[in-house]
């Protein structure tokens, strides 16, 4: 694919790609270096002499220690994990069922139901958060993990359904028919024959749903108020800033450590994630 002289390759390929990489990844490097930089080096004005911002010779774990010893960071991590896993599990069950029904079964209003679910896929959380906060209060699940475990599926299910429909459509009908001829019920054919074949799709939907729940912010911000109930994004925003004072060391440590679970989950399933991502827009 790459043709022409060597310098052309540099100008048209290597340099732009390196530029993109530096631009896209630098903030993460900056998070890391800030996490291990002692306060004395951190708060040095931008025009101080002999300032080496990109490296430190005195790495410290003080900020990480502060995060776990003086704040509820560990609790937030646990909360986020529980909420993200529960919301993902609910959404996968609902999404797989709904996707199967919409792609395989004939029933009245199938088309309009599919369209409705697709439309809810496009409803952003910021459209409904104020009335939803009221409803959460009325249901008496405000300030508890249930507020998020039950509401996150509203933006995860449509996506899972959409993705699973694509997967189920690609599985040949004959597979199911064979099982039915051998005496399996519809339910058995779905559970024992179709679902195992659709595992890659389920993994894609699951990993995608997990990262989305870990990422969610506005519902968590509005529905939760006690510090010990918060998720990582909300906890970092609201508890690590005192008035106008930003504790940048712990803040960046929190940002880094709060990103690691998603990054690990992602690194194990990169291919599934990418196919989920591209599937989510292609359908």
């Amino acid at each position: 694919m790459i043709e022409g002289a060597k310098w052309r390759r540099w100008v048209y390929f290597h340099i732009p790609l390196a530029g993109f990489l530096i631009w896209l990844l630098f903030p993460f490097y900056w998070m890391m270096i800030t996490t291990v930089r002692p306060d004395g080096e951190l708060y040095r004005p931008w025009n101080a002499p002999n300032y080496t911002p990109f490296w430190t010779n005195n790495p410290t774990f003080e900020h990480i220690r502060y995060l776990f010893a003086e704040t509820l960071f560990a609790t937030w991590l646990w909360n986020t994990m529980v909420i993200a896993l529960a919301a993902t599990a609910i959404s996968l069950v609902c999404g797989v069922f709904a996707g199967y029904a919409l792609s395989r079964l004939k029933f009245p209003f199938a088309g309009s139901l599919g369209t409705m679910i697709f439309v809810t896929y496009l409803v952003p959380q910021t459209l409904l958060f104020i009335p939803l906060a009221d409803i959460i209060r009325n249901f008496r699940i405000g300030d508890s993990p249930w507020a998020l475990i039950l509401t996150y599926p509203t933006f995860l299910i449509p996506f899972c359904t959409w993705l699973m429909m694509g997967y189920f459509k690609a599985i040949p009908k004959e597979l199911e028919e064979c099982a039915r001829i051998d005496g399996a019920s519809r339910w058995q054919a779905m559970i024992y024959i179709i679902l195992p074949v659709a595992v890659p799709g389920i993994l894609s939907a699951g990993i995608f749903a997990f990262t989305l729940s870990w990422n969610e912010f506005i519902y968590a911000l509005v529905f939760l108020s006690s510090p010990q109930e918060k998720t990582v994004p909300v906890g970092v925003v609201s508890e690590l800033i005192r008035g106008d004072v930003f504790f940048w060391g712990p803040l960046m440590a929190g940002a880094l450590l709060g990103s690691i679970p998603v990054a690990i989950a992602y690194s194990f399933f990169v291919e599934h994630y990418v196919s989920g991502l591209t599937g989510s827009v292609k359908g």
Partner: protein, 307 residues
């Protein structure tokens, strides 16, 4: 209805027989989804409309006031500024995300060593919780300790510090830059998937016919990529139009309300100030635009599917 109760209370055998019927099975499979979406999407939507035609505050049940709240919001200068900001923000970021995302996708569409590795790393800005990565940017934009200021001074561009988020015009630019940073990987990876479905033979055929690289892109790649591009752009437009996190972390709508979007202003009024009706009305103001985009997308997908 009689059959439903029978299904619920009946023996396992009748239950199995009911599940053999396609309509009952579909009903059973779709039930949980419909219940959740009705409770937490349809119901809040109705409730939002109800809220915005009353004058409800936190703890004070409101009375019906017709369209008075909408009128009040419409005449609010900050609301108008937020509306304008949102449109500007969506338009500018989408153009940049598309251009840079397409460029990156074209770079990644070549064969080179470590491609899978680089592709995995490039998606990081999109994976990492937005609030957390935005904090890294906020730290880089810090008025006193900004590494960007240090860098610009080292290469001799500035000798006065730049107050990135403190200046109304610059602040919007910074928010746009961070949004583009976060969105480019999504565009690049989805467009790359689109590029990979284009058969290389088409390019070879065009090359044999004498088309140069620019012509091959314009007449082969671009038309074939257009359907994917449309869908990606529409998704991105919806997400950007309804954005909240970036502005909330970077500026909270400031300085002097210069960077409010619909969502942040709705939060400011509805949650911070406790004027639920006004907040709900500001959120709902996004609806007409979102509705148009969704209709457009539905029509477009249908057209592509039936082709």
């Amino acid at each position: 209805m009689a059959t439903t109760t029978e299904a619920a209370t009946g023996t396992p055998r009748t239950r199995t027989r009911l599940l053999e019927d396609e309509r009952w099975l579909a009903f059973f499979l779709l039930m949980p989804t419909i219940v959740l979406l009705a409770l937490f999407i349809a119901y809040p939507f109705m409730k939002g409309i109800l809220l915005s035609v009353t004058n409800t505050r936190v703890g004070v049940p409101g009375e019906f006031v017709g369209l008075a709240i909408f009128e009040k919001v419409w005449n609010d200068g900050i609301f108008r500024e937020a509306a304008w900001n949102t449109i500007y923000y969506t338009a500018v970021t989408t153009v940049f995300k598309l251009a840079l995302g397409l460029w990156l996708a074209l770079l990644l569409n070549r064969h080179f060593r470590g491609k899978a590795f680089i592709r995995a790393f490039i998606l990081l800005p999109f994976i990492i919780p937005t609030v957390l990565s935005t904090f890294a940017w906020k730290w880089m934009f810090d008025p006193t300790f900004s590494v960007l200021n240090w860098l610009l001074r080292e290469i001799g561009v500035i000798d006065q510090r730049i107050n990135w988020l403190g200046d109304p015009d610059l602040a919007m630019g910074c928010i746009i830059a961070v949004n583009v940073w976060r969105g480019v990987p999504f565009f690049a990876i989805t467009l790359l998937a689109g590029l990979q479905t284009i058969s290389p033979e088409l390019h070879e055929a065009a090359a044999i016919d004498g088309a140069n690289a620019r012509q091959r892109f314009l007449y082969v790649t671009w038309p074939l990529l257009l359907p994917v591009t449309m869908v990606v752009v529409l998704f991105s437009v919806i997400q950007t139009f309804a954005d909240f996190q970036l502005v909330y972390v970077l500026t909270e709508g400031g300085p002097a309300n210069a960077t409010h979007l619909f969502a942040t202003y709705a939060y400011q009024i509805g949650v911070r100030t406790g004027l639920l009706s006004e907040g709900a009305a500001i959120s709902l103001a996004m609806f007409p635009v979102l509705f148009l985009v969704v209709i457009f997308q539905l029509l477009y997908i249908r057209r592509v599917e039936t082709r």
